[in-house]
């Protein structure tokens, strides 16, 4: 089974974002493989271990996004593809999906695994667009995945439980963080990753038309923020104070 996992390099969720004077996000900060994608890589590896095949990591980003791919390769993925091109900086969701779709089509995968959403954007729009452009069904919010021959079956997380969803491959699935605990890369894995292939592809090689972005940013202002209220140190009086606030809000 040929499995493609989409991966993205994101600002480290454990560090604080900072803004440059021009309202762009500071590039100085630490970047990591998106933690959601680590779960996707892990699930891909587990499916490969159970059913055989190959796990290919596909990413779009600047040259340094190789580090994120390398991280997945050190976990055990077989090879990587990085679409890197200055003209793609600031790509919106549709352009990102078009670029990824063009690169993934060349691989002719049986299964594409995406995280439900990225850590930095958190909008989850690329996976359904990608599924549409690939012509694949989408099985989303998976917290469990089973493969039986050419059928993929997932447990799709819902607000009050889950749904069992089935489709024939090729298919695209999105996985939640509950799918699998990502493994740590072993020293052996890290060494092996150094010699694994990461193919660099330019946007022109894929024949993707850039098109007009979906939106134009007209302005950026500070979000309305709540005013800080009273901050107290608990010296035994906190409970009484909280009870007063609850009573004033008429919930007690």
């Amino acid at each position: 089974m040929k499995i493609v996992v989409t991966v993205k390099q994101v600002p480290d969720p454990n560090s604080n974002l900072t803004l440059e004077a021009d309202n762009t996000i500071s590039r100085e900060k630490e970047v990591v493989l998106d933690p959601g994608d680590e779960c996707g890589v892990e699930e891909g590896l587990q499916l490969k271990e159970a059913h055989g095949g190959e796990v290919i990591l596909v990413s779009m980003g600047p040259e340094r996004a190789k580090d994120a791919i390398r991280k997945g390769l050190s976990m055990g993925a077989d090879r990587g593809v990085l679409i890197t091109d200055p003209s793609l900086a600031g790509a919106d969701a549709l352009l990102t999906a078009r670029v990824l779709a063009a690169a993934i089509k060349k691989e002719e995968p049986d299964l594409v695994i995406c995280a439900t959403e990225s850590y930095d954007g958190s909008t989850g729009m690329v996976p359904p667009m990608l599924a549409e452009l690939l012509g694949f069904p989408q099985l989303t919010f998976a917290k469990k995945v089973e493969i039986d021959g050419s059928t993929v079956k997932v447990h799709r997380q819902t607000a009050d439980g889950y749904q069992v969803v089935e489709a024939a491959t090729p298919a695209l699935i999105t996985v939640t963080a509950a799918i699998a605990e990502p493994r740590y890369a072993s020293l052996k894995g890290i060494m092996a990753a150094r010699s694994k292939e990461i193919k660099e592809v330019a946007a022109g090689d894929l024949g993707v038309e850039k098109g007009r972005p979906a939106e134009t940013i007209e302005g950026v202002v500070d979000a309305e923020s709540r005013k800080a209220g009273e901050v107290i140190q608990d010296d035994g009086n906190a409970v009484e104070k909280i009870v007063q606030v609850l009573a004033a809000a008429k919930v007690l």
Binding site: L17, A214, T216, V231, V251
Partner: protein
Amino acid sequence: MAAILVYAELSEGKVATTSLELMAKARELGDVYAVALGSGAKDAAATLGKHGAKAVHINEDSVFDDYIAEPATDALASLFESEKPDLILFGFTSDSREVAGRLAARLGVGLISNAGDVTAKDGGFVAKVPYFGGAKVASMKANAKPAIVLVRPKSFEASEKGGTAEVKQLDVKVAEGSRRAHITERVAEASEKIKLEEARVVISGGRGMGGPQNFPLLEDLASALGGAVGASRAVVDAGWVPYSMQVGQTGKSVRPGVYIAVGISGAMQHTVGMKTSKVIIAINKDAEAPIMKMADLGVVGDAMKIVPALTAAVKAKKTK
């Protein structure tokens, strides 16, 4: 007048609250049409009429209930061809965003997601979208036609202000090739608790709870107050509690009378889903945590001691 199409999400045959919120906004922007697909679409049309829809396009085929995204995408693409709306509004919910994503890709127009507001400007539409993790708000002008905008739940107040919608049967051939991601079984796990989105008190836990073993402390307080328990993305990702409890940008949006954040630092991903709560109380060890800067009452202390004591005090007060 601009033509606004609202995608009415149906949940167990009823119009989702988020879709009714969109109706309220759509009325300000132009002539409102809605589309409702699947079981209950006909009844939904009546509800949507009361909320201001001039016409509702319906199709009650169960294919829309049983297959993910693709049949709805077929229906919307065909509706777009015949009606050519200027703007299509979706709720920023998991089901709607899957349909919106496929539709935008099929029409080749892109979309604006996670919007908190939409306004008409110069014959087009401008959406206000949280930016830079929510610290800023960007005004984004939609370039494509149709403009497709996904709006966060609880961005507007739903209100009945309309009459009777004309009901139009939407004849759409859902291709065999769109019957693929098949929902074969639905399993309910959650018990009959108060819904997070509807609770008047929400108590949420974050990493500061130390581990899943301490969440029952929050459950106890919630049951004493008649509220519901939520969580930050960090502890959901860590597997402490299910995704259904997540409050934040990609979890649920809540607007309770009182929100109690316990051991939550207050990352933007979280606060974007709760900052419109009427009163916010934060309990945290760290006086410098961002949540303290937005709480009406911030308590610096040990949650493991404060929460059980608070539960006892609430119970004592209630029995008086």
